[in-house]
Every structure is written in C-alpha cells, then in structure tokens.
Amino acid sequence: MVEFTDIINAGLFAAALRMATPLVFTSIGGLFSERAGIVNIALEGMMLTGAFSGVLATFATGNPWLGVLASMLAGGLLGYLHGVLTVKFAGNQIISGTGINLLALGGTGYMCQVIWGSRGASQNVQGLEAISIPLLRDIPFIGEIIGSQTPLVYIAILVVILSYILLFKTPMGLRIRAVGEHPAAADTTGVDVYRIKYLCVVLSGMLAGLGGAFLSLGHLSLFVNGMTGGRGFIALAAMILGGWSPFGALGASLLFGFADALQMRLQSVAFLPSQIILTLPYILTIIVLAVFARKRAPPSDYKPYTKE
C-alpha cells in the first residue's frame, strides 16, 4: 500500500522546484519577447536546441558550464532567426515559430544520430552538480527543498528578480514595455523599435536555451530526442497565468513544476499506467489557459510593426 507521505513529502517539493526551473527560465524568456510585441511559440524549439547544444558542448569540452553557455548561444541564435523573420520580414509569428520548432526537432534528431549514432539519446556527459548552501540546508523541511540544488535553480530565481528590475525599474524596461504597448508611439519618442524587438527576442531565446540546458545538464546529464515534451508551450501558459510579470511567471512555473514532479512521483509508485499520468501537465495547462485566459496581453503582441 502506498502511503500518502510516500508521495507528498519534502522530496516532492524539491522535485517541484527542480521541474519549475526550466519553466521559469523559458516563461521569463517568453515574457521579454511578448512584452516587445513578438509572440514566441518557438520557445519549445529553442529549449530543445539549448538542451542539445549544452550536451554537445559538454561532450566536446568536458565542462558543463561551457555547455550552459553553448545552450544560451544556440537559443539566442534561434531567437535572432525568429527576429529576422518576424521583425525584418514581418512574417507571421506563429508560422515562423512553428518552423523553428520543427527545425529544432528535426535538426537535433539528425545531429544526435550523426554524432552519437542513436536517434533516441546522446551519451552521458558530465552534468551540473548540486551545490549545498550552508545555513539554508540546515533549516528543517525548507532546507530539504531549497538547501541543495543545481546552481541553475538559484540562477533562475536571480533571473526573476533581475527581470523584474530591468522591466519595471529601468529606462530600458520602460522602452521595452512601450514597444509592446504602442510601437508607433514609442517610435515617435525616439525609441529604436526594431532594435528593442531584436534584443528581446534574442534574450528570449537565450533564456529558453538556458531552460533546455537545465533539462539536459541539470536534470538528466544527457540529451533525449524531443526531451522538452511541450514544456516550451507550458512555459507560455505559465507566462499568461502569471499575467506577463516575472514574479507571476515564477509562481505559475512553480504550479506547473509541481504537476510535473507529481506526475513523475506517481509514475514511480505506478498505481496508474504511465500514459494516463503523463497527460496530467498537459490537461492542467489547458485548464489553466481556459480559466485565466482573460488576462490582458501586451496590445501590440502578434502584430508586426512596419515603420511608416
């Protein structure tokens, strides 16, 4: 018989925090892009490419931190591509995003087979090791949850705080929000709308790449084909649920992270077939979108801006 405390315990909350981390990075990424008026459904592909590039660079250099750097670089590159297609050529943001997602899925599958001879997964590489924070780890219960995690978990929390400051406490943040609210007005006040958009979409890709790096280097220490499993879309839902604000995105990511952790835990105790349990995060995402969809998106979201 499975005891309640076998499922719900400090370990589950620690896992929830872990599984929330890639969503935090990626939803903050989505937030920057949308705040500047670009819908970024390519987050999924940027995450996947980040996860792959991280493992590849670690495989080549033996240093997982160089892997993390490569993830951000690869994500940023795809962000730039999304920018070129949607800002410069005013292409459809959903179609461009879908194209990037497909490119990431096909490209990583292809390269995985070319490099490691297997379509399914890469070799194991050196992953990021957990660090233990003195004092914090000694607090009962809380210490078990946040006392000892991979550095990326702490970096994610830092990213949330920094993003909040950047977006709401600096002139740059004001410009970004102005571009998303009313690009033409921002333009007349001398803001370089295109530059801001490029900046945000590249930043968005870098953060999504970081989210992918967490999955492959912080969580598993290898790349698995299609390992993001829709998390880029779940991160978008977290961004919406969080009302396009960094702390909101953090809270929503924690909710989805909890669902992910619970799903994994339930699989391990196996009282339901894994296929049924695996639907949990997706169904939760649909429900959350249905309930909280009325939240207001930045007004220029999705509309390409053409300078007069």
Partner: protein, 369 residues
C-alpha cells in the same frame, strides 16, 4: 464571318484565357517553388557537412518515390494523411485560427475508427465502413471541439490548447493500445479491424487505399465549402476581420467553433483512412508527424486546397522516398523533418521575396510581391 471562324475564335479565346490563368497561378507559386528549392539546397549543405553525399541521398529519395509503380503507390499513400491534415490546417487558418493539433486529431480519428472497426462484427461493408469512417470524423471533431469551445467561450489561445491536446491524444491512445485494447504480442497495437470495415486497396502490393480518393474528394469539398457556401463565406470573413464580421451580423464564436470542429473532423478522417486503409489496425503513435507535414503543405500549396494536393504529393514523395534513402544510404530520416522545417521557415515570411526583388535579385523571374 462564317460559323466555323466564329467557333475557332471562341476556342482561341478560351485557350488564351486558360493559358493566362495557368501562367498567373504558376507565377504566383514561384515563391513556394523557391522555398522548396532553397530548403533542399540547405538540406544538401547539411548532408555534405555531415559526411553524406547530397546527390546520392536525393537521388535515392527520388528513385524511391517515383522509380516504379510500388514507389508511386507508396508516395500517394503517404500523401493521403498529409493532404487531410493540410486541409485541416488551411480551413482553420481561413478563419484566423491556428490549428496546431492536427496530429492529435488524426490520432483520435484513427483511434475512434479502430474501435468501431474491431468491436462490430457481421455487418455488411456498406454499413460497417461508413460507420467506422464517421467514427473517425467524430474523434477528430471532438479533439477540435475542445480547443474551439475554450477559445470561443473563454478566450484560451488555440495555439497552446491544440498543441497540448495533441500530447493528450498521443498518451490516451497509447494507453488504450498498451492495456485494454492491446493485441497479443509485443507490439503496442490493436487487433486488425473487421474485413467489413476495411477501405479497399487500389494498387496491388502497395498500401494505397481508397483513402486517397477520399482525400482528393475532401480537397474539392473544402473548395466548395469555402467558395460556395454561406458558412465558408462567414469563415473567410471572420478570418479577414472578426470585428467587422461580428458587426455585419456574423456570429464569430459560432464560426470559429464550426471551423475548428470541421478542421478536426478532416484530420480525423485522415486518421481513419490510415487505420482502415493502410495499417488495418491502430498502431501506437502511427503518425511520423503528418500533422506538421500538413502545415507545411498547406503553406506550400498557397493556402489553397487544390494547390495543397500537389504539395501533399511532393511531401508524400519526400516521406516515401526518404525511407528508400535511409535504407540505401544510411542518412537519418530526420533530414526529412529538417527539410519540412526549412520550407515552413522560408514560406513564413513572404516579404523575403520583396526584399530579394528590391535588392535586384532574380530579376528574370519577375517575382510577385
């Protein structure tokens, strides 16, 4: 003027008109042709960079796809579900909606058809087969209905909900064919459907089935729906300007729901065609990505159902020829998905062509802008 001369003139005018029409549509499809060519070019660079001969890879692909009757049959077999999902994407797109869930709708349609196909027995073909196909319609429509209602009534963005419901469809069907409906043996699949629920095969040895005819019919029906019916007019009006449509007395909510439901239903028939015509059973996750192929095909086909037929055959050829390429040269099959992605990216931004034109490239092609 004699009667003979008059008839001659009429025929000449008609031919002239057809010729001009053909030229215009050819000229309008230049961007799509360039997109496909550019995708193959970049694909060739990727192949060469990873130690494969592009000529050999594309050559074996071409031979596999069109080299003999078997190849052609398999090409059309692969084109069939792709055409269905292309029509599904296209119809929703005309209403201003992105149905990224054709993959899931295809699976659900196939699954519903399989359930009817294996659970009813002793029915005549003319009853069993239509019921099984209708079950496919229902399965796909249901999987389109959920995101449709959430969009229309609650404003949940269909891009995310259709995507998420695809994952749900994948796991739910996987559960059924791994547990309650699993056929004996190690493969995750159902038992074969009853013979009375099978779609007839068209070409011996190949898997080409009557589903292909259904897909062409669906393309023509989609043209008819969009161009000749009130609903089609409303769908297009909503796609162009939902606010103006609402003001003109069109119920945008109803139109959106119907468009996504019909879209899902079309993808569902595609899945039913796979189950009843090709595999004759439901195999766990049988789609290699037909939903995404459909999206690429709809875009390459210029968001036109008839253009999509040609584009679907092209993508069917890439899929069926790809298998031959994979077997004889060892090039990973994923290169197909890379090609598909590149095509989508090139079509994503039509202004690229205006840009090329402005920079003075491809002058001889007289690019449309």
């Amino acid at each position: 003027m004699t009667e003979h001369e008059m008839i001659n003139q009429k025929v000449k005018q008609l031919l002239d008109k057809t010729w001009r029409k053909l030229l215009t549509s050819l000229r309008n499809s230049i961007p799509q042709v360039i997109a496909v060519a550019a995708a193959f070019l970049i694909g060739a660079i990727v192949l060469a960079a990873t130690g494969h001969s592009p000529l050999e890879a594309y050559g074996t692909m071409l031979i596999g796809a069109f080299g003999d009757i078997y190849g052609i049959g398999q090409t059309l077999t692969q084109a069939t579900p792709i055409l269905f999902t292309a029509l599904a994407f296209l119809l929703a797109f005309k209403c201003g909606l992105f149905n990224l869930g054709a993959e899931g709708q295809l699976l659900m349609g196939g699954f519903f058809a399989a359930v009817v196909g294996i659970s009813l027995n002793g029915l005549p073909v003319f009853i069993h087969l239509p019921i099984a196909l209708l079950a496919g319609v229902l399965g796909g429509a249901l999987w389109g209905f959920i995101p449709a209602v959430l969009k229309a009534k609650l404003g949940a963005h269909e891009v995310i909900t259709t995507m998420m419901s695809s994952y749900v469809a994948l796991y739910v069907t996987s559960y059924f064919v791994n547990y309650p409906l699993k056929a004996p043996g190690w493969v995750s699949q159902t038992i074969p459907v009853a013979v009375s629920a099978e779609l007839p095969r068209l070409l011996p040895v190949t898997q080409l089935s009557a589903a292909f005819i259904l897909s062409i019919t669906a393309a023509v029906a989609t043209v008819y729906l969009l161009e000749r019916t009130t609903l089609g007019y409303e769908i297009r009006a909503i796609g162009l300007n939902p606010w103006a449509s609402e003001n003109a007395g069109i119920s945008t909510k109803k139109g959106m729901i119907l468009a996504l439901v019909i879209s899902g239903a079309i993808a569902g028939v595609g899945g039913a065609g796979e189950v009843l015509g090709v595999h004759r059973r439901f195999i766990d996750g049988f789609s290699p990505g037909y939903g995404w192929d459909g999206l690429a095909v709809a875009l390459i086909g210029g968001l036109n159902p008839l253009g999509s037929i040609i584009a679907a055959i092209l993508f069917g050829a890439i899929r069926s020829g790809g298998i031959n390429m994979n077997v004889s040269t060892g090039v990973p099959l994923d290169i197909i998905n890379v090609l598909q992605a590149l095509v989508v990216l090139f079509v994503a931004a039509p202004k690229i062509f205006g840009y090329i034109k402005k920079k003075g490239g491809f002058k001889w092609l007289n690019l449309p802008t």
